[in-house]
């Protein structure tokens, strides 16, 4: 199945556009794409009529041009017929927004659309979904643009079984300045499933990290997914819902009772180096870190701070998340000590976490970061940059980024997410160094890199 038509369409039909209801999902989708996206959009309704002075097509088959994809937002009982028209017209694929299928007990109707599509090798997303959002290409979410906060173009691919979670995560991504390559709500996943999306994203040059919100797999589907994840050349991140132990108590063997659904899921993800985020907050941190660094590490972190307290908070969080804070080499300490501003060499603490105190200046931070990164015991440096003291300049982000790039090891920064520090944050982010808005967030980013194999 070629999914290019679905995710990067040049032309699109929206079936179900209403002449009377402005808030109808099809109208919202038609309007936003027609007015704001490069995709050429055709409104369709079997009854015909006008929308915004443009004529509605009575069927996709009447559209004069080739149609890459169709968004279907009609009542469920009409979906099979519309699907057949799309296939006849030679449409490349469909997003079926309509609900009223397996999720409401209508298994036979869902099977019918599966059979129709299968026979024609016709790919579709959904039913019962929000569809796709690809910045710069297309947006089939039936939510008015003014109501949602959409992240810009970036390199995270996101797939969700839940439309609501997907939109909410988009808002979180946007808040952290994380961009996406494509977001897909797969709904009932009657045709396109997680494993298909892994294939697509693995080949998609615009995607660097592949992220899933998963509620559950069908029989054997987990194995298929994990086998693809193992072959995948990019980091895979998942957030799992439905972790409770239901149905395990009655098991007749010890093994069945220990190996509850969620424990099996979680341990297998770990076995195959899929990064499982515990919650949405962690998911956001993982995505940001992995979009900058796809190579794994064993978890040895060097902490550089300008305040003893921040160093301790970071060290505590590292221990909690399975990261180690190794002792730094004597050579590292001696080199840093020799290069520090004379006034502070008596008050700094040259251990890990390394505390340069609020009296340090840019040069002290840059030198310390450079030699921490050169230390053979350290794989990654957390730079906890509280920009309150007068010796820290607004250039510190850009300066430290160059150090990290030159040394070739990952650096993760913490800078308070406030407008007045934006220049420091951008100094990092524009140089592809991830910035967290809390100390714990920085530790979670390091946790994301703590994976069993590089990609």
């Amino acid at each position: 199945m070629d999914l290019k038509c679905l995710f990067k369409p040049s032309t699109m039909a929206v079936v179900g556009v209403s002449t009377s209801q402005d808030n109808h999902p099809a109208n919202v989708i038609y309007n936003k794409n027609h007015l704001r996206y490069p995709v050429k959009t055709f409104p369709v309704n079997p009854r015909g009529g006008l929308i915004n002075r443009a004529a509605l097509y009575k069927s996709v088959e009447h559209i004069e041009e080739d149609v890459d994809m169709a968004v279907i937002a009609v009542r469920s009982e009409y979906v099979p017929e519309v699907l057949e028209q799309c296939i006849k017209k030679g449409v490349g694929g469909a997003v079926i927004i309509s609900g009223g299928f397996a999720e409401s007990g209508n298994l036979a109707l869902q099977q019918r659309i599966i059979d129709i599509a299968k026979e024609a090798s016709f790919p579709f997303i959904g039913p019962n979904c929000l569809g796709t959002y690809a910045p710069d290409y297309v947006d089939t979410f039936f939510l008015p643009g003014e109501r949602i906060i959409s992240p810009g173009k970036g390199n995270i691919g996101f797939v969700s079984q839940s439309g609501g979670v997907l939109v909410d995560q988009m808002v979180k991504f946007a808040g952290q300045g994380i961009g996406i390559s494509l977001a897909v709500s797969i709904g009932n996943k009657a045709c396109i499933k997680e494993a298909d999306m892994l294939d697509w994203f693995d080949k998609d040059v615009e995607t660097k990290v592949i992220t899933f919100y998963i509620e559950g797999f069908e029989k054997g589907e987990g194995r298929e997914f994990i086998e693809k994840a193992e072959q995948c050349s990019k980091p895979v991140v998942i957030l799992k819902a439905g972790k409770s132990k239901k149905g395990v108590e009655a098991a007749s063997s010890h093994t069945a009772s220990i190996a509850g659904d969620y424990k099996v899921f979680s341990e297998i993800m770990k076995q195959y180096c899929v990064a499982e985020a515990d919650n949405e907050y962690e998911l956001t941190s993982f995505c940001e870190a992995l979009s900058c660094y796809s190579e794994g590490m064993n978890g040895s972190v060097g902490i550089l701070s300008l305040s003893g307290g921040h160093g301790v908070i970071a060290a505590d969080a590292c221990e909690l998340h399975g990261l180690s804070i190794p002792v730094i080499e004597q050579k590292t300490k001696d080199t840093i000590k020799g290069k520090l501003t004379p006034g502070i060499s008596g008050i700094v603490s040259l251990v890990n976490p390394l505390d340069l105190t609020g009296s340090c200046v840019d040069n002290d931070i840059v030198t310390s970061a450079r030699h921490l990164l050169r230390d053979k015991n350290i794989e990654c440096v957390l730079a906890l940059l509280i920009p309150y003291s007068p010796g820290v300049s607004t250039d510190i982000g850009a300066k430290l980024s160059q150090v990290a790039r030159n040394e070739g090891k990952p650096m993760i920064a913490y800078v308070p997410n406030e407008d007045k520090y934006k220049i420091i944050i951008e100094g990092f982010e524009l140089n592809n160094i991830p910035v967290a808005s809390s100390v714990e967030g920085a530790v979670l980013m390091a946790k994301a890199l703590n994976r069993c194999r590089p990609c």
Binding site: G216, F217, E218, K219, G220, E221, G222, R223, I226, A251, S252, S253, H254, T255, A256, S257, I258, A259, D261, K263, V264, F265, E267, I268, Q271, Y272, C452
Partner: protein
């Protein structure tokens, strides 16, 4: 491939829904996994002969189609050293519901581990390994991997346990033989792949591990 003998065992157990301990162990032995020296008998005399020949205490267990969980039915007696004790216990076990035979085996000591398998709905066959015995669910110190396993999966399973140090040797006590354990678990995982269509879950619990060997002391196979 599953031997003919192994297929017969599964075929004969289908009606019951699970495989009796002696048969489950026979199946494991067919695949090169270690089980204790044993005798399956109905009379005290043969059991006594086995005890006298053994250079260690023996264990007596009731083999009954009505008893899936032996501990709860007091169907296992460990540490038998005398003929008198053996006689008393054999007589008692024979009276348990549905008891067809008595399994008398050499008692094996070591670190108790569980090696299990489950046919998971989402992922197919998975392997469980951890601290074994009757309190498995209470400690719940186990690791799970998708079958078939590679040797490095076994290393990472041991590494992920709270009881890792016990496995590797702790305060002067010997740990388990990692080479033997790895071989056992990897082999078992391949056997489970072959049994995918037949089984629901398997418990090898406990498996007694020492610095020299790993011996399957009890085995239970629940069929689909």
């Amino acid at each position: 491939m599953l031997e003919k003998e192994g297929k017969t065992i599964l075929e004969n157990s289908k009606e019951l829904g699970w495989v009796l301990e002696p048969d489950a162990k026979a199946l494991m032995k067919l695949h090169g996994l270690d089980i204790p020296e044993f005798i399956l008998t109905n009379d005290f005399e043969s059991a006594d002969k086995f005890l006298n020949k053994s250079d260690c205490p023996v264990v007596a267990k009731a083999v009954s189609k009505s008893i899936l969980h032996k501990t709860e039915h007091k169907a296992v007696v460990t540490g038998i050293t005398s003929s008198e004790q053996l006689k008393k216990e054999v007589m008692r076990l024979k009276k348990l519901e549905g008891c067809e035979n008595i399994l008398v085996e050499q008692m094996v000591e070591g670190i108790e581990v569980i090696i299990g398998a489950k046919n998971d709905f989402q992922f197919g066959p998975v392997i469980v390994f951890g601290i074994g015995g009757t309190s498995v669910e209470i400690y719940n110190d186990t690791a799970i991997r998708m079958a078939p396993l590679k040797p490095e999966d076994v290393v990472s399973m041991v590494d992920s346990l709270k009881a890792k140090e016990i496995m590797l040797g702790y305060r002067g006590k010997a740990g388990v033989n990692m080479e033997v354990l790895t071989h056992l678990i990897v082999n078992f995982s391949h056997l489970i792949m072959e049994l995918e269509k037949d089984i629901e879950s398997v418990d090898l619990n406990p498996v007694m591990c020492t610095k020299d060997k790993c011996v399957i002391v009890d085995a239970r196979i629940i069929l689909q």
